[in-house]
């Protein structure tokens, strides 16, 4: 058979057609039920934003005045909880409406179970005719989201808008980004550990240091402490906010856009005007060291807390600018705007950040504000809610049915039933637990009404430890009531253990 140049060109000319058909067949099935008048959905997630540090939620420092402005036309959820104490489980729960013990993204850099590639917020809305877009600065979110990219019309990696990007996997190994980026980090940039690379890693660090020095000098006046960034990228929030505004202006409507921004995640680099804020007399009540104390002294924690608060104020200023622009452009008249975070941050009990095994409120109590299209009044909801509720609430808000695999409930005021008040809410920390095994090494928090039960399982020296707090009378979680309110503790313990047994069942051997 002769295959000449003309035949080759004919075949090559058909390739785009074949490719476009392939991408259609791989993408979400779009029934296009949503009309162009259907409301948009814009989900703004600010990483590591603890509700305990937000003035709107009663923090003594005025960290988020612009969020308070937004609250005047939104529903404010006062007892909202993340699904875990770090990005992977928290974001996984937000995107799937299921708890971490179900979606199984438990560890750092973990992905969702395969069945969630079609069971997630992007796929559900795409199948209803929504244009779906996803963006995150956070590598851990990108590891989750890259696997869901077939459900996304527009998936943008942070390198596209970063000021500086020292990663190469996003460019070179895009198709296999998840595994490649994990390997890239292990080979060149293991944080706080020896890298797999003998020569290239120190060379990379040295060159990066030299390059960063020149960039930092350029931005010295704007960001005197350092330029916002993480995971070997720098991305001033100003650029990201501008980019989001550009995107939402040109996106086909109706759209669902999930925008996950890294600030105020550590390192805390506020803009110059905020870097001198909060040098005040205020000090939080000291708390006793926990058995998982990391040994941070009180003064050190106070200092870091101040930096974090400054960084939050910077985040708030940029959120305010975004909010004003969205308002001015009239976009909020036809958009559900969700403001939340994936987990919190901690500066107490000798513990800093959120890489802890504990699940005290500072690491899991996060903000949630939802503004319905055209909403002009404030509503306050004091009953507990979870990040798994956001997805079903949005579906219900559009009058869409809720898939039965979603574990969250529809929140008030969208749902008026009282059932939401009586249920249990969970947060799970299981980064050392096998993905495909029962939950044996984990911390689980269960919030029911005013009570919060924390269970430490499988940890050496602390296996089977429980703590019980009454959040209504003791919001700072200072008095462990596990021994003194034994009957309540036992009842809650039975419920929690039954739930864990239930979620472990698929992973236990049948014999």
């Amino acid at each position: 058979m002769n295959f000449n140049r003309r035949d080759f060109l004919k075949l090559a000319s058909m390739l785009p057609l074949v490719a476009s058909n392939l991408s259609l067949s791989e993408g979400p099935s779009k029934s296009k039920v949503a009309g162009t008048d259907s409301p948009n959905i814009l989900i703004l997630v600010f990483d590591t934003l603890s509700a305990k540090h937000i003035s709107l939620y009663g923090y003594p420092r005025e960290t988020m005045p612009h969020l308070a402005r937004f609250a005047e036309r939104a529903t404010v959820y006062h007892a909202h909880y993340a699904g875990g104490n770090f990005t992977t489980p928290g974001t996984g729960s937000l995107l799937t409406g299921t708890y971490a013990w179900t979606h199984r993204a438990l560890s750092h850099q973990a992905t969702l179970l395969e069945k969630f590639l079609s069971r997630n917020i992007f796929n559900e809305f795409a199948s209803r005719g929504y244009y779906t877009a996803g963006f995150s600065h956070n590598l851990l979110v990108n590891i989750l989201m890259h696997a869901l990219r077939q459900n996304l019309d527009d998936y943008v990696l942070p390198a596209e808008i970063a000021l500086v990007d020292y990663n190469f996997s996003d460019d070179v190994f895009y198709e296999d980004y998840v595994t490649a980026v994990r390997s890239e980090r292990a080979y060149l940039k293991k944080p706080g550990q020896m890298s797999d690379s003998l020569f290239l890693a120190p060379l990379f660090w040295a060159l990066k240091e030299i390059h960063l020095r020149s960039i930092k000098q350029e931005f010295q006046r704007t960001f005197p402490l350092g330029i916002p960034g993480y995971h070997d990228m720098l991305y001033p929030l100003e650029d990201t906010v501008d980019w989001i505004l550009d995107q939402v202006s040109v996106m086909p409507q109706p759209f669902l856009a999930y925008m996950h921004m890294m600030p105020p995640h550590d390192p805390y680099y506020p803009r110059g005007e905020f870097a001198l804020s909060f040098y005040d007399e205020w000090r939080p009540d000291p708390k006793p060291e926990h058995f998982y104390s990391e040994g941070f002294a009180e003064e050190e924690l106070l200092d870091r807390r101040r930096r974090y608060d400054q960084y939050i104020a910077y985040v708030d200023a940029e959120f305010g600018r975004l909010y004003d622009q969205l308002t001015d452009r009239g976009l909020l008249e036809n958009t559900w705007l969700v403001f939340t975070s994936d987990h919190g941050e901690m500066f107490e009990r000798g513990i800093w950040q959120h890489t802890t095994r504990t699940l005290f409120d500072p690491v899991i109590h996060v903000p949630l504000l939802i503004s319905a299209p055209g909403q002009n009044t404030r509503q306050d909801i004091y009953s507990s809610s979870s990040c798994v509720d956001v997805f079903p609430t949005l579906l219900q808000g559009l009058g869409e049915p809720i898939p039965d695999w979603i574990e969250g409930m529809v929140l008030p005021p969208v749902e008026t039933s009282e059932a939401v008040k009586d249920r249990n809410i969970y947060a799970i920390e299981a980064k050392s637990n096998p993905k495909y095994g029962p939950l044996v090494k984990a911390t689980v928090a269960m919030i029911k009404g005013d009570y919060k039960l924390i269970f430490y399982a499988g940890y050496e020296g602390h296996d089977g430890v429980f703590e019980l707090y009454d959040l209504a009378s003791d919001p700072e979680e200072l008095n462990d009531l596990y021994e003194s309110r034994k009957s309540i503790a036992d009842a809650l313990k039975r419920e929690m253990l039954a739930k864990i047994e239930d979620v472990n069942a698929p992973y236990l051997r049948k014999d």
Binding site: S107, G192, D196, L200, P202, W205
Partner: protein, 172 residues
């Protein structure tokens, strides 16, 4: 090409490759196998194989980059010197630099001052250079060790190429 062949014999090239590849691979594999248990906890087996493949491919690329640097230096120093002194000297430097790279990583991680470290490195390199120039038996010993490591390095190379294939396969 002629100049290259005049400077580097096949045996010399193999010795240099071994001294480039061996420490890079040993270090990469030690660190990788420390991670594998945690990978198994949260990754499907396909991704574990993928991660191993990337590590091996990166190690191959790193070895080749270092080899290229060594060969480049070998092309700019006098020809007679390359044949007599450069290969044992480069071999010794590669071993010392490997140890130094580990120490350097440790210092970076723990934010320790590096100025004295650099001075110490320079001294060690100078002393080893002197030993090789003064005592030819040191060079012979390095060649002897290199010959013993050839088979192991070829095994690494085989797995590297296999890893590279896996990486290519995962990205098409």
């Amino acid at each position: 090409m002629v100049t290259f062949k005049q400077r580097f014999t096949t045996q010399g090239l193999i010795q240099l490759f071994v001294y480039c590849a061996f420490p890079v691979h040993v270090w990469a594999l030690i660190n990788m196998f420390r991670d594998v248990p945690s990978w198994v906890l949260y990754m499907p087996s396909g991704d574990v194989i993928g991660s191993v493949a990337y590590t091996l491919s990166f190690a191959l690329i790193e070895s080749l980059i270092i080899l290229l640097v060594v060969l480049f230096v070998g092309m700019i120093v006098p020809k007679r010197w390359v044949l007599e002194k450069y290969i044992p000297m480069a071999s010794s430097w590669l071993v010392e630099l490997s140890v130094m790279a580990i120490v350097f990583q440790y210092f970076i991680i723990h934010h320790l001052p590096k100025r004295n470290l650099v001075i110490g490195f320079a001294l060690i390199l100078a002393v080893s250079t002197f030993l090789i120039l003064r005592f030819p038996k040191v060079g012979d010993a390095l060649r002897w060790i290199g010959e013993r490591l050839v088979v192991l390095s070829l095994i690494y190379l085989f797995f590297d190429l296999f890893g590279l294939l896996v990486v290519v396969f995962r990205n098409v």
